[in-house]
Structures are given as structure tokens and as C-alpha cells.
């Protein structure tokens, strides 16, 4: 593996551009921290002056004269402490300002990114892996604003360097020459350091991500790994990546090993040169010993802060990568457009019309020219083999996605003309895979809407979930979801169902929504739905005959097209595909019986 190439100057320029964005977005906080940082710089220089002056005016004469003058000592003491207090004010302003600026920017961009997640269409979500979207909102936002923490410090350091060099020239041009070699040398070394280091750091960060991806995947598939006895192979796969990370980190250690000692030695050598040159300058009477001490002290004090420039530069490449990834989300286009139409939420079951709807998923057409109309209060079963486009159609019905051609209409109103939120007032989908929010049972059912506890319990009863919810430690107030009580797949599905029915939707779409529920419980749910009256138009994706039996009409979907439509009996008679699908079990039984008979026959002969 060849070492990653040094960072291009363009990246640094772009990184500085991002810092500019930060300053424009948080000008006041930045000003506070920059002023604090400048105060820190000035007081640092001030400390050197104070020590120089004390050496020259207090220490040297007092010790030379063998007499301690209390007034002078008191002034010296106060001068040291007051300078330090001012410095502390500078430090606090700088650190608080930098921290608050960083946190505010992080918070602001997290809000913006997640706002986009909520606005962008579902199709966009489906095109991006979950892990990528999560890291856009978390680590990428964080990385973008990492350089903000040392940024005000670096600004203050630049200011301090300019002032220092100016003062050095005023003090003694010869010592100033030493300073104008040493400080730029430290700065240059810092830049070189970060240009060697940051690609390695970026690489290491990327490898950490890859190590994490392998661990995630491997542990998620732990059962498969275990049942196929592939633990060693998985460990090898993980080890290879872990070792790559180790090697990159070791390379980082070597770079650090070269630069760290140099950065530390350079100011020390500078002080030694100052002492050497300074002694001869004192000898020639150009400066006094106080000035020499001051310059030496200044070198000591400045050596560390100068590195802040490096901290900022080090973080810039990562920041640029993070920024680009965040921008990809912020500038993503294709939000679902809403009209300003409205539709009555309590006008009984709706008419549903699907007209010539086609939908493509990448290159493959998953739905072609699908047309369907459902009269108010009717129940339609969508039946079709695995992968025939049932879930896609279910999603289209409630406008999770928009068709590429064609229309979906409720009561003759194109769903695209409805205003934001209007559709959810009339239609509810229970998806195949249940999602529960990290919230209470009640919160998961009401989703913040205003339903009484009686309504919630009624919905739970209908979904056959009242029993287990009542048995939960805190009933409706039990927290479920990621961090809450663990529920079984069937229990989760029943909560999702209750979430839909509590809204008394005019259109209810069930996408294989009871697959994890025991057959007998499912039957009770379906019976409940039927008996609760024709309050909804229902579209249900189903395999089971009992579910199909509840439907007034069956639509058979095959390869993205509707190939049959009618009652169950009609379809049985007219559609070979449908017959093949729903009678599979009976046929299997008959064939087995025939084989069995054959076996016996063989035995007999």
C-alpha cells in the first residue's frame, strides 16, 4: 500500500472557505472568541514583559544591592497576578466562544440535514444506505465543524506572532532576526506536518468506518455466521481490516515521531541562540539582561500556541470531506410537491382510483399501467407472487412515492393536489415492516395527535393488542422502541395496526401487516375490522385465504401488471396465475395423496 498523497493546496483553500462560512453564520460568538484569543495573545506577551521588567528592575538590583525592597516586590507580585487574571479572562472567552460556536454550528447543521431527510421523497431515502444517512447527520456534521474548536486560538496566535515580531524588532534587531527565523520555521514545520499527517488521519478515519461496517454486518448476521460455522472466516475478514488500520496508525506514529521532536526542539534551539547572541549583545551594551530574559521567556511562551495553527490545518481535510457529504444532502433535490387542495377527513369511506400508474425502480419497471378503482367502503385484496410489485403499489396508494406516469385519486382528487399533511388525515398504511418510535405505547399510536385514552384502547382492542399492553408494567405509558421494552414481532405489528385504525381513516392500506401474528389472532383482527362497519375503504395485501375471503374483490398482480380482477371464485376460474398461487397448498396435498396412493400401489404389485 502506497502512503496517501499529501493534501492538495486546494483542500486547504476550501477548508478556509468553510471556516469563512462558520464566521458568517456565527459572527458574534466568533468575535467574542477572537477577541478573547487576542487578549490571551497580548497577555502572553505581557507576561514576558513583566518577567523581563521584574528581572531587570527588581531581582537583579535587589540581589546585587543585598536589600529587598518590599514595595517593588509587592508591585512585582501584583503585576504577575493581574496579567495572569487578564490572561484567564482571555482564555475563558476564547474557549467558551470556540466551544459554543462549534456546538451551535453542529446543532444548526444537524437540524438542517434532518429537515432535508423529512422533506426528501422516500425514493431518495431508498437510494441511500441507512448507515450513510446516519453518518451524514452525525459524524459528517461533526467533522465539518471540528476545526472550529482551535480556530479562534489560531487567529489569536497569528495576531500574537505579528505583535511579537514587531516588539522584537523594537527591542533588538539582531534578536528579532532569530525570531523571524524560528517562528516562521515552526509555522512551516506545522504546515508540513499537517500536510503529511492529515491524509493519513483521513485514511485511518475511513478504515475505522470500514472496521465498523464489518463488525456491524457480521454481528447483525451472527446467527447465520454461527449456524454455518463461519466464525473463523469472519474473524479473518475483520482481522485484515483491523490490521490495515493498525498499519496506518503505526505510519501516523512514525510521522508524529519525526515532527513532534522537531517541533519541540526548534523553540528550545531558538532560546539557546537567543542566549548566545543575547550574551554578546549584553556584552556590547546593546540590550540589558532584563530584555534578554524577556525575549527568552517570549520564545518559551510562544512555542506551544504556534501549534494551534497546525491543529486547524490538520482538521481541514476532514472538514472538507464532511462538508461535501453534508452538502450532498442539503442540496439534494426532488422534494415531494404538494398542492393546496383539501379533503374532508370524516366523509366516510373514500373512492379510490388508480389510473394508468407505472413505476420504475432503477432500470426495472416494477409497475406498468396499473389501473384500479375501488368504490367507497369496499375491501380489495391485492394478491400476487413474491416480488410482483404489491408493496410498491401499496406505497403509491398513500403517496409514499409518486408514480412516474399515471394518477392516484381519492374521491376524484389527484393526491398530488392535496396540501401537506392533508393525505394523512384520510389515509393510513400499515407497512410490511413495523417501525416503532422511541416513545410510549400511547405516543406510538397517537403520534402526537389528539386522541383520548378511550380511543387508544378501542384501537388496541381492534388490533388485539389490548391484552399485552394492559400487561405491560406502565400500560400505555410504557416506553417501547429502540430503547424501550422489547416486544415480539407480532406485538409490534399489532401496535402498528392500532396506530392506523385509531385514526378511523377513510382509506386503510394493509401491506401484509399481520404476517407475524398468530393465525387465530389474525382471524380475530380481521373479523373486528369487518364488524367495525364500513368506515373505511380497505386495500389489503394478502396471501392467506382467510384474508382474501374478507375482500369484496381480488386483484391479481403479476410482474407489475394487473392480470386478473374479480371475486375469488371468478379469478379461480379465469386466472391460471391466481389459481396457481392460492391453491398451492391444496394442490400439494392432492399431489401428495396421489403419490401416496402410487406408493401403495407399488407396494401392492
Amino acid at each position: 500500500m502506497s502512503p496517501p498523497a499529501p493534501v492538495a493546496a486546494g483542500v486547504i483553500r476550501r477548508g478556509i472557505g468553510i471556516l469563512g462560512v462558520a464566521v458568517r453564520e456565527e459572527p458574534r460568538i466568533f468575535a467574542l472568541s477572537a477577541v478573547g484569543s487576542a487578549l490571551f495573545g497580548l497577555t502572553t506577551i505581557g507576561q514576558a514583559y513583566v518577567f523581563g521588567a521584574i528581572t531587570e528592575r527588581v531581582i537583579v538590583p535587589n540581589i546585587r544591592d543585598g536589600e529587598a525592597k518590599t514595595a517593588g516586590l509587592a508591585i512585582a507580585f501584583l503585576a504577575v497576578v493581574v496579567t495572569a487574571m487578564l490572561k484567564v479572562v482571555g482564555i475563558i472567552a476564547r474557549r467558551l466562544g470556540a466551544g459554543i460556536m462549534q456546538y451551535r454550528l453542529q446543532a444548526s447543521y444537524r437540524r438542517r440535514v434532518t429537515r432535508r431527510y423529512l422533506e426528501l421523497p422516500l425514493e431518495w431515502h431508498q437510494e441511500h444506505p441507512t448507515g450513510e444517512l446516519l453518518s451524514n447527520a452525525n459524524s459528517d456534521v461533526e467533522a465539518t465543524w471540528y476545526p472550529i474548536a482551535p480556530f479562534p486560538f489560531a487567529v489569536g496566535v497569528l495576531f500574537m506572532l505579528v505583535v511579537t515580531l514587531g516588539l522584537l524588532f523594537v527591542t533588538d534587531p539582531v534578536l528579532a532576526l532569530v525570531g523571524s527565523v524560528v517562528f516562521p520555521a515552526i509555522a512551516t514545520l506545522t504546515v508540513l506536518y499537517s500536510r503529511r499527517m492529515s491524509p493519513l488521519m483521513t485514511h485511518a478515519q475511513q478504515l475505522r468506518g470500514e472496521v465498523s461496517t464489518i463488525a456491524h454486518e457480521s454481528f447483525d448476521g451472527a446467527l447465520v455466521v454461527k449456524t454455518l460455522g463461519r466464525e473463523s472466516d469472519e474473524t479473518d475478514r475483520f482481522r485484515a481490516k483491523a490490521h490495515e488500520l493498525r498499519d496506518t496508525m503505526t505510519a501516523i506514529g512514525r510521522v508524529r515521531g519525526v515532527f513532534d521532536p522537531l517541533m519541540e526542539a526548534l523553540p528550545v534551539l531558538g532560546v539557546l541562540v537567543v542566549l548566545l547572541v543575547g550574551t554578546s549583545r549584553v556584552g556590547s551594551g546593546a540590550i540589558d539582561s532584563g530584555q534578554l530574559v524577556r525575549v527568552a521567556y517570549l520564545f518559551t511562551l510562544l512555542a506551544f500556541p504556534v501549534r494551534a495553527l497546525g491543529w486547524v490545518l490538520n482538521e481541514l481535510p476532514r472538514s472538507v470531506v464532511g462538508w461535501d457529504r453534508v452538502q450532498r444532502v442539503l442540496t439534494a433535490t426532488g422534494a415531494q410537491e404538494y398542492g393546496d387542495g383539501s379533503i374532508a377527513a370524516d366523509a366516510g369511506p373514500t373512492t379510490l382510483t388508480v389510473e394508468a400508474v407505472s413505476f420504475r425502480h432503477g432500470a426495472a419497471e416494477t409497475l406498468s399501467e396499473v389501473a384500479l378503482d375501488v368504490q367507497p367502503g369496499r375491501t380489495v385484496a391485492l394478491v400476487g407472487p413474491t416480488g410482483s410489485g404489491k408493496s410498491t403499489l401499496a406505497g403509491l396508494l398513500v403517496r409514499l412515492v409518486d408514480p412516474h406516469t399515471g394518477q392516484v385519486r381519492y374521491d376524484d382528487l389527484d393526491v398530488r393536489e392535496l396540501g401537506p399533511g392533508a393525505l394523512a388525515q384520510v389515509a393510513a398504511l400499515v407497512p410490511q415492516q413495523t417501525f416503532l418510535f422511541d416513545d410510549t405505547v400511547r405516543g406510538n399510536i397517537t403520534l402526537g395527535a389528539d386522541f383520548s385514552d378511550e380511543d387508544v384502547w378501542a384501537a388496541l382492542r381492534l388490533a388485539q393488542a389490548d391484552g399485552f399492553v394492559a400487561a405491560l408494567a406502565k400500560g400505555l405509558d410504557t416506553v417501547v422502541g429502540e430503547r424501550g421494552t422489547t416486544l415480539s414481532g407480532g406485538q409490534r405489528q399489532r401496535l402498528a395496526l392500532a396506530r392506523a385504525v385509531v385514526r378511523r381513516p377513510r382509506l386503510l392500506v394493509l401491506d401484509d401487516a399481520t404476517s407475524s401474528v398468530d393465525p387465530s389472532v389474525e382471524q380475530r383482527i380481521l373479523a373486528g375490522l369487518r364488524d367495525s362497519g364500513p368506515a373505511s375503504t380497505v386495500v389489503v395485501v394478502a396471501y392467506r385465504r382467510a384474508t382474501i375471503a374478507l375482500a369484496d374483490e381480488v386483484v391479481f398482480l403479476d410482474g407489475g401488471r394487473i392480470t386478473g380482477r374479480g371475486t375469488h371464485d371468478q379469478l379461480l376460474a379465469t386466472s391460471a396465475g391466481y389459481r396457481d398461487l392460492v391453491t398451492a397448498y391444496e394442490r400439494a396435498e392432492v399431489e401428495r395423496a396421489a403419490e401416496h396412493a402410487g406408493d401403495e400401489f407399488e407396494v401392492l404389485t
Binding site: 521584574i54 528581572t55 531581582i59 540581589i63 512585582a76 504577575v80 497576578v81 496579567t83 495572569a84 487574571m85 482564555i91 475563558i92 474557549r95 466551544g99 459554543i100 434532518t114 431527510y117 423529512l118 422516500l122 446516519l134 463488525a215 456491524h216 454486518e217 454481528f219 447483525d220 448476521g221 446467527l223 447465520v224 454461527k226 449456524t227 454455518l228 460455522g229 469472519e234 475483520f238 482481522r239 483491523a242 493498525r246 515521531g257 519541540e264 526542539a265 539557546l272 542566549l275 548566545l276 556584552g283 539582561s289 527568552a296 511562551l301 413474491t386 409514499l400 401537506p420 393510513a428 429502540e482 396506530r499 404476517s515 398468530d518 382471524q523 392467506r544 385465504r545 397448498y585 400439494a588
Partner: protein
């Protein structure tokens, strides 16, 4: 279901004990540790060069009798420069060794912990949140790595620095040394006070970040539901609340950290002021030279820095120790379902017979899920296990494949107790297809090959053909080379199950266990697949845990589990009319499917 989590089992080891334990478990860390520490000590030497050089310059150079002695200063400076050179080299070597040793050790620790997670029984795996297991081999290790190379190194260097500084201070003036220590003593207490508060503040930051990440995740993972119910505004509000909480917690911690840091600065000033005052008094009394006094002022700088960074390092150290503890907890967790390895037995060749000998099973702290299951399944038979949700039928499958061990009793395959059977033998001869047919982010072919590494594409294609799934493969965008996406998400749930069955089929086991392996597949495909499996798996033993009773109808024999007890057993034809649990289940199934 509750299983002991690693947290609850974690011994409350102190920080030092944790480190010692970590060193014991990771010999890589100890390699050349002594020499690295020595190098660290030497490399600190460079830092006291300046104060000593300043002292020498002032006392022997500038204040030399007869005016500044340039030659002496030059010699002193050259000597100092040489010392700087030596320490720089030591510093270089120390860095290289430190990184090599720590990264070596951490990589080994990481890999061992990873392996251990896979070796844990699924009971333990399930008791931990996935994310928490992942963090033990990722961020926890990264935290240790960062600490060792920055904070940990600073601790070593700073300690050396304080020691070295103290030695020089003592050599110059014990009185001033005492004075400096007296000034810094209150700081140590102040810092301890703040440090405890900081710890709480940082804990709060971590907690709010965790909640915020959860809220952010909802906007991604729950994308469909949020849109279906039009709850964008509510979700945004929840995220904003969590984001704001995080920012508040961060600001509070930052304020505390800034104040703590400042305390060091002020202490240094007070110490310097006092050193000047007392130093001058001592100097006037002839006990101290000017150079030493000025040198002291430089030394105090060296003193304050370690104390100042101590606050930040201590927090980092606590995080690192906590991380270390979490990683070690994984390694300390006993592999309760362990591979007997080379001591174990090998499954005799040929078809596999199954025997459950008085098997009881209970999840830790829970009631029995299986009671006294005692039965034999002859080799080469096809058995369906049926029962309602929670009856214990999945537990039966897990015990059969040794994903868990019985609480009492034994499971034997062809007369060999499962506990004695080598995993290398067990896992190649016995394969289970779980309900959740997890797929890896790769192609269809690679996922099937997972069942038998080295299987060619032709063999994989043949497997699909034999299973009657050639049509399905054909309609995939790139056939066998089609990528399945993260966790197989490009495929429907049913399609993932098809791949999972093919994966098990190509592994060619002698005992095949299907745990509701085709629950999301459409009936026609399921029937076709089962028929294919039936004919193909003749000659092996097949045990299918079934949700749909169609599977039971096709089996040689049906085992009916109810409330943890095997209540009925026999061919479908016999049981269906017997008026027992099976009759009831079957009636319910018929009313559903006909």
C-alpha cells in the same frame, strides 16, 4: 427474555486493576514497555534544558566577573543543543515504539473481542444491543488508542517532567521548591473538585448525544411511517429538542472545562509571584543566585502544564478505562456454549439421528420453556415441529443446532452428545436456516457461497435450478451477480429467504433444520420450494419448524409442541383426526387457507 448482560456481570474493577487485567490479557502491550518508558523519561530531558541554560547564562555568563563570558555561554549552549538532539532522538524512538506497541496490542484485542462475540451463545448476543456489541470492537478500542497515544503519553511525560523539574528545583533551592509545592497543593484539590463535576457534565453530554442519535435515526429508519402518517413536524420537533439538549449539555461541560483550565493559570501566577518575592529575600540573604531565581520562573511553567492538562487527561483516562473495561468484559464473558475443539468428538459419517434425552430449557431467570422433552428422531426422516407462538418450537430448533445448551438433559446426534461435538464437525453437517435470512452486502452468488466457500458460479446456478428457483434468478437485474444491498435490502423479505435456503442447500448438510425459513414466501413458491427440498433432501434428516401447516402435511412425522411439552407425535394423517392440539391448529389453518 432476560439474559445476564455483560454490564451486570462486569466486575467493578478499579482503574488500575482494569489496566493490569488488560495488560495480562494482551501480552502485545507489554513488549518492550520498560525501554519505551525509559525513552519517554529521556525525551522529557529536553524540556528542562531552557531553564538550566538560562540559569547558567545569567549566573556564569552575564554575571561573570569581568563582564559577559561569551565562551562559557557558547559552551553551555552547545552542550544544551547536544542534549536537545539526544532527547529529540529519544522522542522519535519513543513515538514509533509507542504507536507500534499500542496499535499491535489494540488490533489483537479488537480481533480477540470480535471473535469472542461470535463465540458467545446467541443468548448472550441477544441480551446485548447490537450497537453495544459493535462499539466494543470499534469506538471503545478507538478511545483506548487515542488515549494511549495522547493522554496516556502525556501522563508519562508529565510525570517525568514534574519529577525532573522537582529534582532541579531542589538542587537550586529547597525553600522555593516547598513554596511552589505549597502553591500547587490547593490546585490539586480544586481540580479534583472540578473534575468530579466535569465527569458528571461529560456523562450528561454522552447521554444526550445518545438520545439525539436515536432521534436522528428515527427520521431515517422511520421514513415510510413518518410520511404515511404525515408526522414530519412532530419528528422534527423531537429531533430539535434532542439537538438542543445536547448543545446545552455540551455548553455546560465546556464552561466547566474552561474554568478548570484557568485555575491552573492563576495558580502558576501566584506561584511565580511568590517565588519572586521569597526568591529575592533568599537572594538578598545570599542563599540564591539571580540566575537560579530566573531559572525557577521558567521551571514553574513546566510545572503548571502537567497539572493543567491533568483535568482533561483524567476525563480522557476515565473514558479509556471505561472503554477498556467494556472490551475486557467481552473477553471475560465465558463462552457458555463452547466448542470442545480438538478434545471433542466428530459426528460419525452417514445420516444423522437425533435424540433429546430429558431436556429442560429455561431462559436465565425465567420459567421453563421446554419441559422434559424426551424423544428420538430416526435418521433420514422429515419431521415438522408445529405449535403456537411461544410454545417452545423455536427453542427446540436452537437446542438441536446447539445455539443454546439445555438447562438439564442432553441432545445427542447419532449417539454423540452435542456438548462433546466439535464445531468444525457440527457446523458442516448440521445447518439451520433461520427465519430472518440475513444476507451480507454482496451479490446473490457470494451470499450462497457463504454456505460452501469455494462453490463455483455454475454450482450455485445449479443449486437454484434444483430448487426450482431458476426463474427467479433469471428475472434479477444481473442474475447471480446482482448485489443484494445492505442486509439484503434490495430484495424483498421473501426473496431473502429464497437465497438463505439456497445457501443452506449448497452447504449439503446431513441434518437440515428449517426455522420458519419460508414464512414470507408466496404459497406457490413455498410449495414448489418445499417439494424440491423434499426430493433433494431425501437421505438426510430434515426438521422443519412450521408456521404454515402445509409443511406438516408433507412431513413423515409431526411433533406438536404446546406450552413447552411435546403433546402429540405422528404422521399428519393420524393426528389430524385425533381431536388434540394438532386437530385444532389444523382446523384453524384450514379456515385460513381455504
Amino acid at each position: 427474555m432476560t439474559a445476564p448482560t455483560m454490564e451486570s456481570r462486569a466486575t467493578s474493577r478499579g482503574a488500575l486493576a482494569t489496566l493490569a487485567h488488560g495488560l495480562r490479557l494482551t501480552p502485545e502491550f507489554r513488549e518492550g514497555l520498560g525501554f519505551t518508558l525509559l525513552l519517554a523519561l529521556i525525551s522529557t530531558g529536553g524540556r528542562v534544558v531552557v531553564p538550566v541554560a538560562v540559569q547558567q547564562t545569567i549566573d556564569k555568563g552575564l554575571n561573570a566577573p569581568g563582564g559577559p563570558d561569551l565562551a562559557l555561554v557558547r559552551n553551555a549552549c552547545l552542550l544544551a543543543a547536544a542534549a536537545v538532539g539526544v532527547t529529540a532522538i529519544a522522542n522519535y524512538l519513543m513515538n514509533v515504539r509507542l504507536y507500534r506497541t499500542t496499535e499491535n496490542g489494540l488490533a489483537a484485542l479488537r480481533v480477540r473481542a470480535f471473535r469472542r462475540v461470535h463465540d458467545l451463545s446467541m443468548l448472550h448476543q441477544a441480551a446485548e444491543r447490537r450497537g453495544s456489541l459493535v462499539s466494543r470492537v470499534t469506538s471503545d478500542v478507538d478511545t483506548i488508542s487515542t488515549f494511549m497515544q495522547f493522554g496516556g503519553l502525556l501522563i508519562v511525560v508529565s510525570t517525568a517532567q514534574v519529577l525532573l523539574t522537582t529534582v532541579i528545583m531542589l538542587a537550586w533551592s529547597w525553600q522555593l521548591t516547598l513554596l511552589v509545592y505549597a502553591c500547587f497543593l490547593p490546585l490539586v484539590f480544586t481540580i479534583r473538585f472540578f473534575q468530579r463535576r466535569l465527569e458528571v457534565a461529560y456523562g450528561r453530554v454522552r447521554e444526550t448525544i445518545g438520545r439525539m442519535l436515536g432521534a436522528v435515526a428515527e427520521s431515517v429508519v422511520g421514513a415510510s411511517v413518518i410520511r404515511a402518517y404525515g408526522v414530519q413536524a412532530r419528528t422534527a420537533e423531537r429531533i430539535d429538542g434532542a439537538v438542543a439538549d445536547t448543545m446545552q449539555a455540551q455548553k455546560k461541560a465546556q464552561t466547566l472545562a474552561a474554568i478548570t483550565f484557568s485555575a491552573g493559570e492563576l495558580t502558576a501566577a501566584v506561584a511565580n509571584g511568590a517565588v519572586i518575592w521569597v526568591g529575592v529575600l533568599l537572594g538578598v540573604g545570599g542563599d540564591l543566585t539571580t540566575g537560579r531565581l530566573v531559572g525557577f520562573l521558567f521551571l514553574v511553567t513546566l510545572f503548571v502544564q502537567p497539572v493543567q492538562i491533568a483535568t482533561e487527561i483524567l476525563n480522557e483516562a476515565q473514558n479509556a478505562v471505561a472503554g477498556m473495561r467494556r472490551v475486557l468484559d467481552v473477553l471475560d464473558t465465558p463462552t457458555d456454549v463452547a466448542d470442545p475443539g480438538d478434545d471433542g468428538a466428530v459426528l460419525p459419517p452417514g445420516p444423522v439421528a437425533v435424540r433429546f434425552a430429558h431436556v429442560d430449557f429455561a431462559y436465565p431467570g425465567g420459567p421453563n420453556v421446554l419441559h422434559d422433552v424426551d424423544l428420538e428422531i430416526a435418521a433420514q426422516t422429515r419431521v415438522a415441529v408445529v405449535g403456537e407462538t411461544g410454545s417452545g418450537k423455536t427453542t427446540f430448533a436452537k437446542l438441536l443446532t446447539r445455539l443454546m445448551d439445555p438447562t438439564s438433559g442432553d441432545v445427542l446426534l447419532s449417539g454423540v452428545a452435542l456438548r462433546r461435538l466439535r464445531f468444525s464437525s457440527l457446523r458442516t453437517r448440521v445447518v439451520m436456516v433461520p427465519q430472518d435470512g440475513f444476507l451480507f452486502d454482496s451479490t446473490v452468488a457470494d451470499n450462497v457461497r457463504y454456505g460452501r466457500p469455494g462453490a463455483t458460479d455454475d454450482e450455485i446456478a445449479l443449486a437454484f435450478t434444483e430448487l426450482g428457483l431458476a426463474d427467479w434468478v433469471e428475472q434479477l437485474p444481473a442474475g447471480l451477480a446482482s448485489p443484494v444491498g445492505e442486509r439484503g435490502e434490495h430484495l424483498s423479505v421473501g426473496e431473502r429467504q429464497l437465497v438463505a435456503v439456497a445457501r443452506a442447500y449448497i452447504a449439503d448438510p446431513d441434518l437440515l433444520v428449517l426455522d420458519e425459513a419460508t414464512s414470507a414466501v408466496d404459497p406457490a413458491t413455498e410449495v414448489r420450494l418445499n417439494r424440491a427440498l423434499d426430493s433433494l433432501t431425501r437421505g438426510r434428516t430434515t426438521i422443519a419448524i412450521a408456521h404454515r401447516l402445509s409443511t406438516a402435511e408433507a412431513a413423515d412425522e409431526v411433533l406438536v409442541v404446546d406450552k413447552g411439552v411435546v403433546v402429540e407425535r405422528g404422521p399428519h394423517a393420524e393426528l389430524v383426526g385425533a381431536g388434540g392440539v394438532y386437530s385444532r391448529l389444523h382446523a384453524s389453518w384450514m379456515s385460513q387457507s381455504r
